[in-house]
Symmetry: C2
Subunit: 194 residues, 2 copies
């Protein structure tokens, strides 16, 4: 069991509807030491891939992407969920359906900062159905940038997102893959050490 799986067992809370709350350390309150360990783990896996930028989506992915970027020594980019009046018109846009918020929204990224030839590491806190990641992949495709890897803190292995992305040929690394959650709060992980 790795450090993230241990922390999930210690502080994660299961709610009906396959909701796993880890907001004491990952996506509301943030434990910096923990996310730095996560960033380092992602770096160890992808350090030889010539990554030029780390791409995530607001808001929960930003802290994790920053910790990873510190090791890679590359800039991070975060796609925005709402079309800010300040963002300008020169944007990549992709449509995403949110499981958490129960609605569809556009994600946007300025064309200035993602270009043909960029080698991108995608980073996010959760992978369930994978809609947000497919939006980011679509934006990379529009830019002509290559997705070299997808780094996830917690994958819900009982939902389809991870399988779909791997079947599409993406190299997905999830530090913790939850194989089962029960309503009485028991959390099981897929054994990735084999």
């Amino acid at each position: 069991m790795n450090f993230l799986e241990e922390r999930i067992l210690k502080e994660g809370r299961v709610y009906p509807g396959n909701i796993l709350k880890v907001d004491s350390f990952l996506n509301h309150q943030i434990d910096i030491e923990l996310i730095d360990r996560i960033g380092e783990a992602f770096y160890e896996k992808y350090k030889d891939k010539g990554i030029t930028r780390i791409l995530t989506i607001e808001a929960s992915g930003i802290a994790i992407a920053c910790s990873a970027a510190r090791f890679f020594k590359v800039p991070i980019l975060f796609a925005k969920k709402a079309k800010s009046l300040n963002l300008g018109n020169d944007l990549y846009v992709s449509k995403v359906k949110s499981y958490t918020f129960g609605k569809e929204y556009d994600i946007t990224l300025s064309k200035r900062y993602l270009n043909k030839g960029d080698r991108i590491l995608l980073v996010d806190d959760f992978l369930a159905i994978g809609n947000a990641l497919h939006g980011l992949i679509d934006i990379c495709s529009q830019a002509g940038a290559e997705v070299e890897g997808i780094c996830i803190c917690i994958e819900k292995g009982f939902q389809d997102g991870g399988k779909i992305l791997r079947d599409e040929g993406y190299d997905v690394t999830s530090l913790a893959i939850v194989s089962e959650m029960t309503d009485d709060g028991k959390i099981s992980f897929k054994d990735q050490t084999a």
Copy 2:
């Protein structure tokens, strides 16, 4: 002129309506080395204040708050702008009017993570009218937590937010205070060295 002012002069772009875009290094693409220098500057100013948590608001504040928290060795908290289905009911809520997005919204924070006796450093990327910060201050007040300082990257000194907060007695530190922006792109800063 400090490192942030220099970077703003080099890469900041002025648009009509007093919009200063710094999205090449601060709030869309993020230069990690720069925000770590910002975090360290905030730490140098408030390291003796017994800070227990750093509080910001999604999304642009998160990266900066994380860099500061790394020096203070405390957790960060970020208030959320939309009421997620997953956040639960046990929330502090405050209403904020957004200048950037032209609408009013609730910000929320779980009551689990902010408590009476907490000594809070507020961190954000911009200070203009100060509405978002007043929302965070309101939440600290609801929790019985003390606001020990307010750390801002870029203050628009020609708008009222900074003056109002200082008149209210808050210790506001802005690394760059823009005193004037002209439509032809000239940016001037308030001299804080005196």
